[in-house]
């Protein structure tokens, strides 16, 4: 696995350990210890993935996440010590693609990082439509008429997964497996939050979604064109 990872964590021991584990996997690692310098380091280092602790001195992790997300769709994985629903949802809503709860096993972290970096392989040229949107899979673009919609890679993957099989109802578990690359019932909340975020970008009225439709009690599916 190749790639550049920016680790933003104030705990030096943990940061060093993260460095050891990630380098063992063949990744390049750069570390910053506080929120204020994180955004500068991000611009300079141009990482392929950001590992971000939620609690940081200076600017907190959520704000860093928002700032990075404002200028880039780079995958962000949050490290959180809290499992409270509210904390996790707030973290995801600030733009994180995924999160791991401390204490995590190194394999668990590597699996997440790998899943987020896996997208490097060039996809086959493929054109899809969902609702009134056109998707160019290879070109990573979603357009409505002449307008190009800006989605993060994760949101793009989510939309592509739904658009590829418009007849299928996806449970949250299946989406989690296909888009995030792992299966864990406790993390289905990820799907809910990201569907909301995706809707806010692509739906005409996110309150009454027509492109990504909720199937009550089951999951989601692509809306009728």
């Amino acid at each position: 696995m190749k790639g550049r990872v920016l680790v933003v964590d104030d705990d030096l021991a943990l940061a060093e350990m993260l460095g050891i584990v990630l380098r063992n996997e063949g990744l390049e690692v750069h570390h910053v210890a506080d929120g204020s310098s994180a955004i500068g380091a991000f611009r300079e280092y141009r990482p392929d993935l950001v590992l971000l602790d939620v609690m940081l001195p200076g600017i907190d992790g959520l704000e860093v996440c928002r700032q990075i997300r404002a200028e880039s769709g780079v995958p962000i994985v949050m490290l959180t010590a809290r499992t409270d629903t509210v904390d996790v949802v707030v973290g995801l809503e600030s733009g994180a693609d995924d999160y791991v709860v401390k204490p995590f096993k190194p394999q668990e972290l590597i699996a997440r990082v790998r899943a987020r970096l896996r997208r490097g392989d060039e996809p086959e040229p493929e054109r899809l439509t969902i609702g009134d949107l056109a998707i160019d899979v290879a070109g990573h673009s979603v357009t409505r008429g002449d307008e190009r919609l800006s989605l993060t890679p994760l949101e793009f993957d989510l939309l592509v997964a739904l658009a590829r099989k418009p007849w299928q109802v996806f449970t949250r578990e299946v989406l989690l497996e296909q888009v995030w690359g792992y299966r864990h019932a406790g993390y289905t909340r990820l799907v809910n939050v990201h569907v909301q975020r995706l809707r806010s970008k692509i739906e005409h009225d996110p309150e009454r979604p027509e492109i990504v439709v909720t199937v009550r009690g089951v999951g989601y599916k692509a809306g009728q064109a």
């Binding site: 350990m17 584990v21 010590a81 809290r82 401390k102 995590f104 190194p106 019932a185 009690g217």
Partner: protein, 520 residues
Amino acid sequence: MRDALAHLGRRWRQSLQLRVVTTTMLLGLLVVSALGGVLYQQIARGLESDKVDTSQSEALALTAQAQATWDASTATSVDALDLAAFDIMRRILTAPGSNPSRYVVMSRSVANESDIFLASLRSGALDISEVSPELQAAVAASPGRQQTQMSEVTLGGENLPAFIIGSVVEVPNAGPYDLYFIYPLGQEVATMDLITNSFVIAGLTLTLLVGAVAWVVTRQVVAPVRRAGEVAQRLSAGKLNERMPSRGEDDLAVLATSFNAMADSLQSQIRQLEGLSAVQQRFVSDVSHELRTPLTTIRMAVDVIHDSRTGFDPSVARSAELLAGELDRFEELLADLLEISRFDAGAAALDVETVDLRSPLLRVVEATRPLADRRGSVVTLHLPDEPAEAEVDERRVERILRNLVVNAIEHGEGRPVDIHVGIGSDAVAVVVEDHGVGLRPGEAANVFTRFWRADPARARTTGGTGLGLSISLEDARLHHGWLQAWGERGVGSRFRLTLPQRAGATLHGSPLPLSPNEET
């Protein structure tokens, strides 16, 4: 009609004011009626005796006058006597006016034995038929005295009480003739009617007035009490800033003051508790972060060491294994402790959605299959064909189910474990049943106690933190659900989770029995 009665009954029970006003009015009505009755009787008696006295003296005088006229009369023939009698009747006895105060009847005495018969005479509409034979006999028996009788006469189509006086005049040559003076009491009856009407009107007015007074007075007392009730209700609904207005120095002001003092003290206690709870929550959160970060580092370091243990000296390699294993337990314990603290701090929140309980059950059974295989237990799912849907927090429910299934496998001694799902009208239930050692009497209540172990002497083979069932119970409670245990020594144990289908609804029963002997 019945509804109206029921409504009235409810009003009666609920409204102190209604009860006080009604009772006061009833008592007032009773007093006014008694008083009115006594007064009425006295007035009636007075009027009657007045009438009797005047009538008697008038009759006496008229009789004497008639007797004097007869005595002075010179008539001897029947015709002359008749003429004289007619003259006396017209001039002396007949009362003036079209509606006379008295009616006079002259008729031959019962005891008269003379040969001369004079015509009976009458002054007006009433004749001898109004006079009872008893009175006529009494008059004949003692002609020197006035005889009286109360009777009833019919005048102008209406029945009236009347006072009748009988006396005798001695007609020269023709013997004794009776004079009957009939005094109808029409005037008196009219007066009494008027008085009755006035009494009734006055009585009713008085009763209404008493009622109104009672209403005003109770209102002054009841209104503050009601206000206290309303304020107390708002207080109990959580509006801790509600207070009663307190004015003056009377009893009600004292009530308001003490009420407000109570509310103040309640409010400050609640504030204090809230403060404590907030401190506790922050503490939990801080501990969580502070402990978890170093633990993560240790975790990763241990894993790196553990992965490269093959190159180590055997004792170091074994140490690395033990370290890794115990770290797992430590993590589990920490996670469970933090979860329990969150419940204790009231910080646990439900993330509710509609879930078909069959899917988390399938996942749990799948995930626990390796453990079941190791223990030699066969886990059988008895699932209904229709979805067992309920509005629940899937993560928590799955955690409860995993705990129950793991427990059943661990204590099932390799015997089968059965899982039943029941669907009721407003609840769903899951029963996890093992056929292992079971529980001793009294233990069913203890299994949910933190760190409780069924048999302290028994070797601990599979970790478990001792907090699993406590957390499950808290999870069930958070759903307003039930988690109950049943067990019998040597038979096995059953754990039943019952959850309301609609989030926040109250459970009334479970679709599955807790013990195998019981029918739902």
